[in-house]
């Protein structure tokens, strides 16, 4: 994935710092609780939610199980409609393709629709290195870009910022990127949105190249779908002469009809609306004929792998590719609510990020090895997921992979993962416990010793256990081992003051 987040500390360290930031926690708590309540109401409006959720799961599962066939079908349909299809194995290749396509237009700036895939590959940075300026046009992405910040939420990337912070960023930074913020800009959301409108409009009207992702691609027809609210998507998808869409290979649905499921579940799950304000659907490039002149004349689709085929190879983890990026799981997650999105060290934060990032990138880095632990396993994420991804199941599966090692697929090759180093102490402790439990005499002696030395016990563990006890209270050792008590009182029968 992108270099953007490389060098991030592991989740526990990043989370500890985030939890200490009271402004961040306040912003997050307000936002997640607001959207949570609204989502429940929006879902309650449709009586067949469970059936829609199951159908969405089945459509995505079927597509993934026959992804090769649907990819080829999609390519044929897009090509027949006048588009050009490119295939990118990894982030570098995708960035090279997009950079080349932009250069071929002779332009040095592009307007962008908010897209997780282009964030994942670090496209803006790659374009910048080649002298091409990419303007983010989604309001939240604009806030992140102007603030030289990182996104912290899939749907609302600037969720960690409050209105005062946003006003300060607009005042300080807009001028360097184009039209400056209006004089006397206040921090009311309406004023801030108006400032963004003015700032971005000049860019929309002159842009010759647009870059987007897509929410869905229909294999049968070659149609791409972008779901949005602000209209910046429509601007980027229709005004430029050239449109380049970078889309993960898992975003396919087989037929036009399948959209009827996701156009019902996605808006309600993500923004808690019956329907998002704008949805754009287009098929290929616009011709010069009677209906021509509606939208870009040149359309390129870049199909992105970047770890997706490796994820597909894991029969348990594969289900993460069903994700339609609604972000409902973030908003209900008690860990995300307190730690914030940055702690996950990836463009995919929250519960889905905790299973997607370590699969797309592998668990080689400290942050990726720690992500399967960035969860309480409470299951709230699974409950709200509109495609029923069993996130806790995949988390446990990935934890086992990290601790025990085992077979994985990396860059298309089968490999055997070694157990993670950081977990050596845990494995040693478990082996020792297994040995003691298998020898009752040893266990009894150990328990008696522990009881008699109670007064000397430290409040925190030494050595490798320190990290564990830093955030937990050690259980008190009883004055007498249970087994001794049982023997002395005949199972409680002879003890005074007890029943029996």
């Amino acid at each position: 994935m992108s270099g953007t987040f490389v060098g991030m500390p592991a989740f526990p360290k990043a989370a500890r710092e985030a939890v200490a930031d009271t402004t961040l926690r306040g912003n997050l708590r307000h936002a997640t609780h607001t959207i949570r309540a609204k989502r429940e109401a929006a879902v309650a409006e449709v009586s067949d939610w469970a059936a829609l959720r199951e159908a969405g799961k089945q459509i995505k599962d079927h597509t993934l199980r026959h992804l090769d066939r649907y990819l080829v079908q999609l390519e044929e349909a897009v090509t027949a409609a006048g588009g050009t299809v490119h295939w990118a194995v990894d982030a570098d290749e995708a960035n090279r393709i997009v950079t080349r396509l932009v250069k071929e237009t002779g332009e040095s700036e592009v307007v962008k629709v908010k897209s997780m895939a282009t964030q994942e590959i670090g496209l803006n940075e790659a374009l910048e290195a080649e002298g091409i300026r990419a303007y983010e046009t989604d309001l939240a992405e604009l806030i992140v870009q102007l603030g030289r910040d990182r996104p912290s939420h899939i749907l609302v990337p600037a969720i960690h910022r409050n209105r005062g912070e946003i006003r300060d960023i607009f005042r300080a930074e807009m001028g360097a990127w184009g039209r400056p913020a209006p004089e006397g800009l206040t921090d009311t959301p309406a004023d801030l949105a108006e400032a963004a409108r003015l700032h971005l409009r000049e860019k929309f009207l002159r842009a010759k190249v647009g870059i987007s992702g897509a929410n869905f691609m229909v294999a049968e027809t070659g149609t791409l779908v972008v779901v949005e609210s602000e209209g910046n998507g429509r601007m980027c998808l229709t005004l430029p002469e050239t449109l380049i869409s970078v889309v993960g290979i898992e975003k396919i649905v087989p037929t036009w009809r399948d959209l009827e499921v996701f156009l019902q579940t996605l808006p309600r799950s993500s923004t808690a609306e019956r329907m998002n304000p704008y949805t754009s659907m287009w098929t290929g490039a616009e011709g010069d004929g009677a209906g021509g002149g509606d939208g870009p004349r040149t359309f390129h689709l870049v199909l992105l792998d970047n770890g997706r085929t490796d994820t597909l190879a894991d029969e348990v983890g594969r289900q993460a590719l069903r994700c339609i990026r609604c972000s409902a799981c973030l908003n209900v997650c008690p860990v995300y609510e307190r730690a914030g999105g940055h702690a996950y060290g990836s463009v995919y934060p929250g519960p889905i990020g905790a299973i997607l990032s370590p699969q797309l990138r592998g668990t080689g880095s400290e942050i990726d090895a720690s992500l399967p632990y960035a969860s309480s396993l409470c299951g709230a994420c699974y409950e709200v997921c509109p495609v029923a991804i069993d996130i806790p199941e995949v988390l446990v599966h990935l934890r086992e992979r990290v601790v025990e090692g085992g077979p994985v697929t990396r860059a298309g090759n089968k490999a055997v993962l070694k157990p993670a180093k950081g977990h050596a102490a845990e494995r040693a402790a478990m082996r020792a416990a297994g040995w003691a439990f298998a020898r009752p005499g040893v266990l009894r002696a150990g328990q008696r010793l522990a009881s008699r030395t109670r007064g000397l016990h430290p409040r925190t563990l030494p050595g490798p256990g320190r990290a564990w006890s830093a955030t937990r209270d050690l259980p008190a050792v009883p004055a007498e081992p249970f087994r001794d008590w049982w023997q002395r009182t005949n199972g409680g029968a002879t003890e005074e003051g007890t029943a029996k």
Binding site: H30, T34, E45, D48, A51, L52, A55, D61, H62, R65, H66, D68, L71, W87, A88, V89, D138, L139, A140, V156, A158, I159, N162, R163, P189, A193, R197, F204, L205, V218, S229, E230, G231, R234, M235, T238, L239, I249, P254, T255, E260, V261, L263, E273, R274, M275, P277, Y278, T279, S280, W282, T283, E286, G292, D294, G295, L312, A313, T409, G412
Partner: protein
């Protein structure tokens, strides 16, 4: 090996567990969700459409066929519009009572030209009652996608009950995937600042829907 072959090869190896006689598409998805929610008459669907559009801050008007030209003239006058964009196939009778200067939707007109126009009047392809959505498919009476995007005021005429369907599945059935489509549910909005909904960021800040019939 090309990246295309590389990726398709990886996909095939990753799916080694999938049997060749895996359940075909037709049987893989249980379509036991509803075709529409609740039982409504056509008139009730129109009511629900109006209600849901208004709920997402569209301004909704009702009239019969004969009243339409006067109503459109009034809406443009109230807006103090000096110019109005007109798709090539829009029924000329609709704007017969308005003296606002008409600007034709021409393929060669650039974004700056469109930005200088005050209002746009279009028809639609279909409207969805349950979600409060109007769908434009770039038909002759709707024009190119950009004309309902750049101007700040969009008036969309929905013919009821013919163009009103109950649900999203019914709307998709009526649409041709080869045509570019724009689904519009209320005016442009954002919830990016503290999840407060603000109307009007980049698209038309005012959406007026006229339901005729």
């Amino acid at each position: 090996m090309s990246s295309r072959e590389l990726i398709l090869g990886r996909v095939r190896r990753a799916l080694a567990d999938v049997p060749p006689d895996d359940t075909p598409y037709e049987d893989a998805v249980a379509r036991d969700y509803l075709r529409e929610h609740g039982e409504r008459t056509a008139a009730q669907d129109v009511e629900l459409l109006a209600e849901n559009l208004a709920d997402y801050r569209a301004l909704v008007h009702r009239c019969d066929e004969g009243e339409l030209p006067a109503l459109l003239a009034r809406l443009l006058a109230e807006r103090k519009a000096a110019t109005v964009l007109v798709p090539p196939g829009l029924d000329p009778a609709w704007l017969a009572e308005s003296d606002v200067t008409r600007v034709a939707d021409r393929p060669e007109s650039g974004p700056h030209e469109l930005d200088a126009v005050d209002s746009v009047v279009t028809a639609c392809a279909v409207a969805v009652a349950e979600t409060g959505t109007i769908v434009l498919d770039a038909g002759p009476d709707q024009g190119r996608r950009r004309i309902t995007l750049v101007p700040d005021h969009h008036v969309c005429v929905v013919r009821a009950p013919a163009q009103v369907v109950s649900s999203v599945p019914q709307a998709l059935e009526r649409l041709d995937p080869r045509r570019p489509a724009t689904w519009i549910s209320g005016p442009s909005a954002t919830s990016d600042i503290e999840l407060d909904r603000v109307e009007g960021v980049h698209g038309p800040r005012t959406l007026e829907v006229v339901i005729v019939g």
